[in-house]
């Protein structure tokens, strides 16, 4: 351990001599196994070209999984601080854990840009701007759309119980659908089934078998639509399926008519705008007059699915 300390001390001395000279930013995101995050990364990657062309760097940090999400995010924030970045772009998923850590970052003079999640706490973390959707209004739009298509009993599926943004989505779905006269029940699946299509399909199947009045499902997860389609295939129940976010597979289902709609929040734009606008703010002092900047909801159904598929083929939708 003594040797370690000497190496560390030498490294500290070397670093203090060099000092910061360019705008370095860290972009913090969710699990490396989450396909939605890959679309954010596509936006971050494109913005990185612009950042690097102007002499800055982008460090893209992701958690391993969602099992210990709050503390893991705090660890990543602390890593960004340790790396001496000038700005952090980050969603706020677990406010209790993240707000104190981001406060420390701000005390160090780090500028915060927020994207994807946590709009209600934007003022509290002092983020320059927010790029993402308003969860409640996205849910409201989706719930209303489904009820207008004739749904009477909608199940709103939450894949990570307790996640505030997902609960907001279902609150929106409930309000939007009940206004048009439909009923909404919430289905929580255990967080360790997150991303598990087969496991989630079985839970949805059990729900469909147990209550024959269910005629629509809106999942807060993109993979939830695949799980629901899987459950429909097994049970033969007539079910309208909707989901937050899209994938090539869900676009195929919408084109084929086995999925009714998807509520898109355009993650590519969130990653691209949060990264490039944070850098431009640091480097050029720019600000966007619109605050927050909403990248969703955009409802994708049979009418507009083909245009979206073209973007999906390029990894940006």
């Amino acid at each position: 351990m003594n040797v370690t300390k000497h190496i560390a001390a030498a490294a500290v001395a070397a670093l203090m001599a060099s000092g910061a000279y360019a705008q370095d930013i860290a972009v913090i995101a969710g699990s490396i196994e989450d396909a939605f995050m890959d679309k954010i990364k596509r936006g971050v990657d494109d913005a990185t070209h612009m950042v690097e062309a102007n002499g800055g760097t982008v460090q893209y940090l992701r958690t391993q999984n969602y099992e210990n999400f709050g503390p893991d995010l705090v660890t990543l924030i602390n890593q960004a601080i340790a790396q001496g970045v000038d700005g952090i772009a980050i969603p706020v998923w677990v406010p209790e854990a993240q707000i104190p850590a981001l406060q420390v970052a701000r005390d160090e003079g780090i500028v915060i840009m927020q994207y994807n999640a946590g709009l209600p706490v934007q003022a509290e973390i002092g983020a320059v701007n927010y790029f993402g959707s308003d969860e409640y209004h996205s849910g409201y739009g989706g719930g209303r759309y489904m009820a207008e298509q004739g749904a009477t009993h909608i199940v709103c599926h939450i894949q990570i119980p307790g996640a505030i943004n997902l609960e907001e989505r279902c609150r929106g779905v409930t309000d939007g659908a009940t206004e048009v006269g439909a009923r909404v029940t919430i289905l929580n699946t255990p967080a360790n089934l997150d991303g598990d299509v087969t496991g989630t399909a079985e839970v949805i199947k059990a729900e469909l078998i147990g209550d024959s009045s269910i005629d629509a499902l809106i999942s807060c997860a993109e993979f939830g639509a695949a799980a629901a389609a899987n459950a429909v295939e097994q049970t033969g129940v007539d079910l309208m399926i909707g989901a937050f976010d899209i994938s090539p597979a869900s676009l195929d289902r919408i084109a084929a008519g086995t999925q009714t709609m998807a509520i898109d929040q355009q993650p590519y734009l969130q990653g691209f705008l949060a990264t490039s606008m944070l850098f431009a703010h640091l480097r050029f002092g720019t600000e966007i007059a619109t605050d927050p900047v909403l990248t969703g909801p955009v409802i994708i159904d049979a009418a507009n699915v083909e245009a979206v598929r073209a973007g999906a083929a390029l990894g940006a939708r």
């Binding site: 490294a11 490396i32 893209y60």
Partner: protein
């Protein structure tokens, strides 16, 4: 060349000093892996402050959480057992504390006691089932993993109506001991020397657990009993060692260590979730194995496990300080595990051959 079966613990004092001495210590493999990994990430992460006090804190903090559990898990593995129920006891420790304080308005120390008590009860059940039945501990603790995970979700929903609990700051002393960041900077201004910075309370708890663990395994007579159990269960019992009692105590220890980690996280992050931490089961086993403990029991050291945990912490967090693609993280961990185990085997053979009286 035939390796005679040798009891390392009994020959430790008698071993002659030679230039190969340090290499023949049982923890040499783990220590070598640690140095190798530190140099590797130190080089590739140098320009992103990996080697600064603040940079080191990110992997030390991570290592401490795994390390607190890895030491009692190491004991169990030396004694020839496994405990994977810790994956559910970590969240249990946090939510029991959060519910005690937030839902029932209890004093935080009472909450800590209740949380420890719950964990000890589960550990006792694990120990009783393993010693009273012939069911392997892997299966027993696999069962309790799911039982506790189910209890976490159900009780928390019934009692507090949510699976995501908040735990507001509960007092200066409890924050200091369980969940705060600590820095030690000597002097001021230009000449200030940063001894450590932003280390979580759990890091200091880990050191305390490691020292206590060292005493138990390498100084006290219980240590010899643990090694003896891992070597040969039957003859250990015939030699008058209370194997059942000792084993139950070890399961209680690992369960309480897991709850302790859950509590430190809850106090630090002001939040506790019921989500079962399946990843932590593997993390603790990786640390113990990289630390040179034999999966079949009978061989291992506390210092080795500490080195194993440090190495794991660097690999897990270090990649974020480098320019490597973050998707490679798991691949790095898997490779480390293989390399460390191979290195341990080589050095263990060296150590055991040195323990024989054979002269070259």
């Amino acid at each position: 060349m035939v390796d005679a079966p040798v009891d390392i613990s009994s020959t430790k004092e008698k071993r002659s000093i030679s230039f190969l001495g340090p290499l023949r210590r049982p923890e040499a493999g783990a220590a070598a892996a640690f140095v190798l990994i530190l140099v590797f990430f130190g080089y590739f992460g140098l320009d992103r402050n990996f080697m600064t006090a603040l940079g080191a804190s990110t992997w030390l903090n991570f290592a401490s959480k795994v390390g607190i559990i890895a030491i009692p898990i190491g004991f169990l593995m030396i004694a020839g057992e496994l405990d994977i129920s810790v994956g559910a006891l970590i969240p249990a420790g946090g939510i029991v504390l959060a519910m005690s304080v937030e839902t029932f308005g209890l004093n935080i120390w009472l909450g800590v006691a209740i949380s420890f008590g719950f964990a000890a009860a589960i550990g006792w059940v694990n120990g009783m089932l393993v010693t009273r039945t012939q069911v392997p501990s892997f299966i027993v603790t696999l069962a309790t993993l799911f039982v506790v995970a189910g209890l976490n979700a159900y009780v928390s929903k019934q009692v507090a109506g949510t699976t995501q609990h908040s735990l507001q700051d509960a007092g200066v002393v409890s924050e200091f001991i369980f969940g705060d960041y600590h820095s030690l900077i000597l002097g001021e201004g230009e000449t200030a020397i940063t001894v450590f910075r932003s280390l979580q309370s759990s890091f200091f708890i880990w050191i305390a657990v490691a020292i206590a663990g060292f005493y138990v395994l390498h100084v006290s007579h219980w240590g010899n009993w643990i090694f003896a159990m891992g070597g040969d269960q039957e003859s250990a019992r015939n030699a008058g060692i209370p194997t059942a009692k000792l084993k139950i105590a070890l399961f209680i220890l690992s369960a309480m260590a897991a709850a302790l980690v859950g509590m430190t996280e809850a106090v630090l992050a002001n939040t506790a979730s019921t989500t079962t931490q399946f990843g932590m089961i593997f993390n603790t086993i990786i640390c113990v194995v990289v630390g040179g403990v034999l999966l079949t029991g009978g061989f291992g050291t506390v210092l080795g496990v500490v080195f194993g945990t440090l190495t794991f912490g660097i690999v897990f967090q270090g990649i974020n300080f480098t320019a490597f693609d973050k998707d490679l993280n798991m691949l790095f961990i898997g490779s480390l595990l293989l390399v460390a185990v191979l290195m341990n085997d080589t050095l263990r053979n060296l150590a055991t051959s040195a323990a024989t009286t054979k002269k070259k």
